[in-house]
Symmetry: C3
């Protein structure tokens, strides 16, 4: 499909800088621009590509002021990244194939009441008394344990395991290999070894949660491990038993939360962040990649390092660390000077 830049600008309520008749038929990254491609500029780090890209048009922020001559047509919108999301969703809705129906190789327990509109692939397994709302797409090899509840319009990709009694909200997406509701890591140490503490709670995902691939969200020992509405977790993340994560929080891959730790709303964690157990992270907290946190953190904090320090302080300490050998030499020199002065 082809669209003119004019058509796209109208759809986005944006304005055109340049030839509005230019046609585009695909999306492309700014550093891999091609004719007929629509690209975007959201990260200023990539601005220099804009002056050399072969793309035919680019989405930019309204406020963007080019520092050089531009060859392609610009579409100005309030937020270039949000506009891109909206256009790509539109494109996706045109091209995405929507499987439907229950494959004859799926296993669905007779106790399950199937919604009218759903897809269940070959080798999908739906256990006893599972409740599935309409519009769900359950891919091949997905496993949904007994008594689990799945909300409307969820997508459960291959090899996802949802343990018994867990609850998934509406419009959730769970990528391949993720495990929702495995036993929390609870053992009582005794002289002859560790005795298992049965994990009698469950795991609950609220509406609009997206979980990446091979991520693990353990069930609670008692009560629920909870992921709040609109929160997005990337791949290979560990959420231990009895943790709670608030709303609209995003965590990059390989983050680990130890048991009974709590994260607020609108937080942003970089990859490989680690949280100790039994701590509370406030709202709008930003943690850089690999940061380690061992105690409660106030709303709005921006931390880096292990243990985490305020970003400015952390960078200062890092810079200082590099100067340590020099500081040590200055100390040696001072000691000698003083010795000399003292002996005068």
């Amino acid at each position: 499909m082809k669209f003119t830049v004019q058509q796209i600008a109208e759809y986005l309520h944006g304005s055109v800088d340049g030839d509005p008749g230019v046609e585009v038929n695909t999306f492309c990254k700014i550093e891999e621009g091609q004719q007929g491609g629509l690209t975007f500029l959201a990260n200023p780090k990539y601005e220099h590509y804009l002056y050399e890209t072969k793309a035919s048009a680019a989405l930019v922020n309204e406020s963007f002021k080019p520092s050089q001559e531009i060859k392609l047509t610009l579409i100005r919108v309030p937020d270039a990244y949000a506009a891109l999301a909206s256009l790509m969703q539109l494109a996706n809705s045109f091209t995405q194939k929507q499987e439907s129906g229950v494959d004859k190789l799926a296993f669905v327990d007779p106790s399950v009441k199937l919604p009218e509109d759903c897809y269940m692939g070959a080798f999908a397994y739906i256990g006893k008394n599972v409740q599935i709302a309409k519009g769900c797409r359950i891919y091949p090899h997905a496993y949904i344990g007994d008594n689990a509840k799945i909300g409307e319009n969820c997508i459960i990709y291959p090899h996802v395991t949802i343990y018994h009694d867990c609850e998934i909200g509406n419009r959730c997406i769970i990528h391949a290999g993720s495990v929702i509701g495995a036993d929390g890591f609870g053992f009582a140490p005794e002289a002859d070894g560790y005795h298992k503490i049965p994990q009698l709670g469950n795991a609950v995902l609220e509406d609009d949660v997206e979980i990446g691939a091979n991520t693990c969200i353990d069930r609670a020992a008692m009560g629920s491990t909870k992921i709040g509405k609109g929160t997005k977790l990337d791949n290979l993340i560990q959420v231990a038993h009895n943790c709670t994560v608030g709303q609209h929080t995003v965590m990059a891959a390989q983050v680990g939360m130890a048991g009974s730790s709590h994260v607020g709303d609108w937080c942003m964690f970089g990859g490989q962040v680690g949280l100790s157990g039994h701590i509370k992270i406030g709202n709008k907290v930003s943690l850089a990649g690999q940061t380690g946190i061992m105690s409660d953190i106030e709303d709005g904090s921006q931390l880096l390092g292990s243990p985490g320090m305020p970003v400015r302080e952390a960078f200062r300490s890092i810079a200082m660390m590099k100067r340590l050998p020099e500081m040590s030499k200055r100390l040696d020199k001072l000691e000698k000077l003083i010795e000399k002065l003292s002996s005068k």
Copy 2:
């Protein structure tokens, strides 16, 4: 089911402080207490909740001395956490459904001799000459490769992969998505690229091992990668080829052990700990979360940081790091003073 506090205290050989006739019918966390709930106090950090919880009764250590007035009934036992484990196991045995039989959608190779008492779910795959002892529960989508051996009363959850020739002891639990016996990461570098070193050994789990979700234990290049009796590994852990882990060691999520490293008995590792290859960690070693270890470690060490330092030393260094900018200023000042003194 309801029980009186008196009945529970008798089962646990504990004593009652308060009304022994109070009835409880569920477990609850102390900060989420509810009427009819039995809670527990094991971590002193949570003591303050005891004075306001709505729970009806609480398990506490014999030695516990309340610092305020208590409204609920206490059950005093030698070890509150161990008592909780024992009670929850009892509760679990009442409620847990025990599937049995081989589902007609399971694949079991004709060479496999099925034990009388077992469960194999739909889409479970049991390869050639696999030996499975009695009482095992093999969930849907589990894969057990040729010639593997599974001991008595194991639980193998969905999407577990056990590669050919691996051995699992008695009473082991392996959570969803874990991979036992994938090829170790062994390649010989040559001018044209890396040549694969076939991994001809296997992976062995001794009795009473529990493996979390999406954890990987690679097979040995030759010989065996071994996890000792009673050891518990959490989710998303990496155990590389030819590693050995001793008995009764616990590792939190996302720990990584590089090839041919060895860990002793009764160790405790926090999350995201990393070990270099070809090193030896003694017994009863405790490593805080995110600690990195590059050399052999003595029995009983307690380390933190990357590279790991004794805990006290690590905290002192961390505190010092924050003082570095100040130390640098003091150094500047001293230099000026000395210059002044010297020029007198």
Copy 3:
């Protein structure tokens, strides 16, 4: 099967030190030597085992000079580790069972043209219009999404998920539970929450790539996430959307690459390394375990620490850190001395 040391030396074009008639029938590690075992010495750290091992023969580098009397027979070759790889490949080719044919419990979409020579296990799923070249072995529970392409002689282990439209080169090996082509982590923040950016690109593995267990390689937002020819990734690794990895690069377990970061050829990363997004790592870069990188890195760099520093500098800073308490005391002392001197 038994071979004489003479036969093995001839196969490897090596020379024999000691009795060439000694027979061996298995491989063994040097520290677990046994009669009839062929071992090897590649890592000098293990040399002392050579003088006490019970193995019957050992592969050593041509240049190796024993520092003590040797009891077993040596086979001298230019590169002991490469020779081992070659011998083990030979042994593996004798013993490895080669399943073939399409199991009647596999699901293969009618649109798929099967190659003459392939294996597809029970519960394998091959979607619409998938192209599979000859010689592939697709294990039980593997999932290959619509329109994916798989090259010749690939091995796809159980529970691997290959999302739609992804491309796998020739002779690739993908271990159990890995996920190729899940959605990249792309969301546009708006006032009401994060809006999903559909991930319309794919993931591409070039020839001779090996991927460990439970590793995740996300599909690109647009264009392709690419893993170059001959590159080997270990277990539990995260490669985010739009990343590229060059040729013949090796990464140990639990490495994480954030979005749009690029790694060159012949790099070596230790375990748990983390890379920020939108950065470029040159060729032949070596990063120690747990290193964190936040900016572009030049060819040939050898870094350690978080943030990464040149190895020598990093070790010096680490040593200095331990001396900080002492430096602080010296500073205190100097200040007092100067005060005394100044007041004279």
